[in-house]
């Protein structure tokens, strides 16, 4: 990780590339993690007392919890990290200051100009500001709240406090505790009763440099009968000054509501990406996670749906691509806590060039969750003999009257498939890419069009080995 303290003026996400900015002195907490730092963060943000207490208590929990013994091996010096960097002010860098290397990658990915600038942290003259402006107005009229979580603490204190930390309490796991202590940024969304947002709401429309921070915290409340599709992240490689990214995402789907949360993340190779994502679904509500993970040194991420009342549905689709030096420990968790609940997990992983992709999933059916159904399908594709794939499916069933299905397959790119495509003029590389794209097609077709296109292109770049 970068420990170069001379890059003071830079924004957290990208100072690996040592952007020069002309910002005035901005606040930056010193390295390390202790009560003083946490208090400083809270003070900087001008937070109410309850949030400061929440942070401090979370810090204690973090210290008291051991590192997880499963998943991948995590080698992070928690004292060698900046936990808070206040973003530079308005006059920040311009597009011209963004290094060519990053621009090239964006071009390769064919990312829309607006998104590129956002990703590069260029805040000035952000084109989609206008787009977002009118969009926002429309949403506001319907009572939708779409803001960053810091702002929500100030502007929607009661609503936020009612739900914040209730789905993933700080003591859930060590990294949830860490996030709870030092969180910054993330999205806060409230969709009122019966409001159906009929276009995907994209995080990058919300121009806020804190959005893509190290420890973002997202909270989404979908009220009764409402629906939303939230798309977060992006397919461009995300550069981070620090080696640790640890986010928390909490979602509440009330009766009859529907939420789909789509993430595609492509991290630089030095990142530990340890994310806790969990949703609760009440009666007849549907929660869907669509989760794509590429890059990083280690990703541990298991989006969860707790189905709390009859008729609730949980669906999790996950794709992981592990290349050289990468370990994707990704999966899903479904908890059937009420009768007549339905769950589905589809996981696809690809490993290449010595990468390791693991599926780790839990389906738990509580006692009395009778007539519940759950189905798990996990398929792994291994591209060469150096690479590895493993599955850790856990199933806990406490009720007899349920139906649970599990299928797993591991395949290697078949010689016969390669020959078939090559005999039709495709080069070996093109043929492998086509086979891989076919393998993840069932998931990619669930993505919004532009993300599907980017996902395919990203796979192609991964296959060429030119990204990450």
């Amino acid at each position: 990780m970068s420990t170069d303290t001379s890059t003071n003026e830079t924004i957290g996400e990208i100072n690996k590339y040592d952007f020069r900015t002309e910002s005035k002195a901005v606040f930056k907490a010193r390295k390390g993690l202790d009560a003083q730092i946490v208090e400083q963060i809270s003070e900087m943000k001008n937070e109410p007392a309850w949030m400061r207490e929440f942070r401090l208590k979370s810090l204690e929990i973090f210290h008291s919890k051991p590192m997880p013994k499963w998943g991948g091996s995590i080698d992070v010096d928690f004292q060698d990290i900046f936990y808070y960097l206040k973003p530079t002010d308005k006059q920040g860098r311009t597009w011209e200051d963004v290094p060519q290397e990053i621009k090239d990658t964006f071009d390769k990915l064919g990312i829309p100009e607006a998104e590129k600038k956002f990703l590069a942290g260029v805040k000035a003259q952000f084109e989609s500001e206008v787009v977002y402006g009118s969009l926002k107005e429309d949403l506001v009229q319907q009572g939708v709240i779409f803001t960053d979580t810091d702002t929500a603490v100030r502007e929607h204190p009661d609503l936020l406090r009612e739900y914040f930390g209730t789905i993933i309490p700080p003591n859930d796991n060590k990294f949830a505790a860490l996030n709870s202590a030092v969180w910054s940024g993330g999205s806060f969304i409230y969709v009122p009763k019966g409001v159906k947002i009929d276009f995907p709401l994209q995080a990058y429309f919300r121009i806020n440099a804190e959005n893509m921070g190290q420890f973002e915290r997202t909270l989404i409340i979908v009220d009764e009968g409402a629906s939303i599709h939230y798309v977060e992240g992006c397919t461009a490689p995300m550069y981070s000054s620090e080696s640790l990214h640890s986010a928390v995402v909490e979602i509440i789907c009330k009766r009859g509501s529907r939420c789909r949360y789509t993430t595609i993340q492509n991290w630089a190779n030095n990142i530990y990406n340890l994310v806790t994502k969990r949703a609760v679904a009440y009666a007849d509500a549907t929660m869907e996670w669509v989760d794509g993970n590429l890059g990083s040194k280690l990703t541990m991420k298991y989006p969860a749906v707790y189905m709390l009342e009859p008729g609730a549905r949980g669906e999790i689709l996950s794709i992981a691509f592990a290349s050289a030096g990468q370990h994707q420990d990704a999966g899903a968790k479904l908890v059937h806590a009420a009768p007549h609940t339905t769950g589905q997990i589809i996981s696809k992983s690809i490993s290449k060039n010595g990468g390791r992709a693991s599926y780790r999933g839990l389906v738990r059916v509580e006692k009395d969750a009778r007539k519940s159904k759950s189905n798990v399908v996990c398929d792994a594709l291994i591209l060469d003999s150096k690479s590895q794939s493993d599955t850790y499916p856990y199933i806990e069933i406490l009720d007899q009257d349920v139906s649970i299905g599990h299928e797993a397959s591991v395949s290697r790119i078949g010689e016969e498939q390669l020959f078939y495509l090559m005999s039709r003029g495709l080069s070996e590389a093109e043929a492998s890419t086509m086979i891989v794209n076919g393998f993840i097609e069932p998931l990619v077709k669930e993505l919004p069009m532009e993300y599907a296109v980017e996902m395919n292109r990203l796979i192609q770049l991964q296959m060429e080995g030119s990204v990450g």
């Binding site: 498939q417 005999s423 039709r424 003029g425 076919g438 097609e441």
Partner: protein, 273 residues
């Protein structure tokens, strides 16, 4: 156009087991050749060796397309050079739509020097062409959206191979039992399609056990393979004779080749289930 496919003294082994033992064959552009012979005599092996399957090692001899030595090329380069084989058992590629697959294939074959990542044939133009070809072959347009050979019936697979041939317009096509697994109507349709697309427009090597395909595509030459060699060559009447009377005469006339054929069959490893 004048092109020649020339196979000279071809010896091929699979897993170090010799299968072909000196095949000689010359096919000119526009000609139709039938390749017959009992099961396990090496017909598919010849086709796969020409197409460049990596498991079929050429231990001796050569394959020339005009002045290009195909044995030095990978399967994709041979395809771009103008070789096509409709397989006896096509392979499924789940998740890949026929249309996408064909667009990549057609682009590469038409622009043999294309580098990976360069543009494909324009979508609009390609769609129009594909639609036309599918109509010609009486295929449901929906077919273009299905995944390559995935869950296809036997008949659908063979028709997909013919469609691919139509889109790639190769110089030489090897059709390996493209008439098997089809019902009577489908055989007639496939035979007529092959005649329409391939006859006189490329060199055809038709491997078959039936007569319908050859009725529609009367061969100028019929070759009989036994024990990994072409033991006899004749005209269209030879195909008819073999079809009517079987291979007894051939087996008796060429005892060495028959012995080799029996040996190959005997040495076959039991299939792992």
């Amino acid at each position: 156009m004048s092109h020649i496919l020339r196979i000279e003294n071809l010896h091929v082994s699979v897993n170090d087991k010799p299968i072909l033992r000196g095949v000689n064959l010359v096919i000119k552009f526009g000609e139709t050749h039938a390749l017959m012979g009992p099961n396990g005599s090496g017909k598919s092996t010849l086709g796969l060796a020409i197409a460049g399957h990596p498991n079929y090692q050429i231990t001796e001899g050569s394959i020339w397309l005009d002045d290009v030595n195909l044995t030095e090329l990978e399967a994709d380069e041979r395809s771009r050079a103008g070789i096509f084989m409709a397989f006896q058992r096509p392979v499924a590629i789940p998740g890949v739509k026929m249309a996408d697959f064909l667009r990549h294939a057609a682009t590469n074959v038409r622009r043999p020097d294309r580098k990976e990542g360069e543009d494909l044939i324009a979508m609009r133009e390609f769609r129009k062409e594909l639609k036309g070809k599918m109509e010609q072959l009486k295929m449901d347009p929906e077919f273009a959206r299905r995944y390559v050979n995935d869950g296809f019936s036997g008949g659908e697979m063979k028709r997909a191979e013919i469609l691919t041939m139509a889109m790639l317009s190769p110089k030489f096509s090897i059709l390996d039992e493209t008439d098997s697994g089809l019902d009577a109507d489908a055989v007639r349709l496939a035979s007529a399609s092959i005649a329409e697309i391939g006859r006189d427009k490329m060199g055809l090597l038709i491997i078959t056990h039936h007569d319908k395909l050859l009725e529609h595509n009367p061969p100028q030459f019929t070759h009989v393979m036994l024990g990994g060699r072409i033991v006899e060559t004749g005209g269209a009447e030879l195909a008819r004779q073999l079809h009517d009377h079987g291979y007894d005469r051939i087996r008796k006339a060429y005892p060495d080749a028959e012995a080799a054929n029996q040996q190959m069959l005997a040495k076959e490893e039991p299939l792992a289930v």
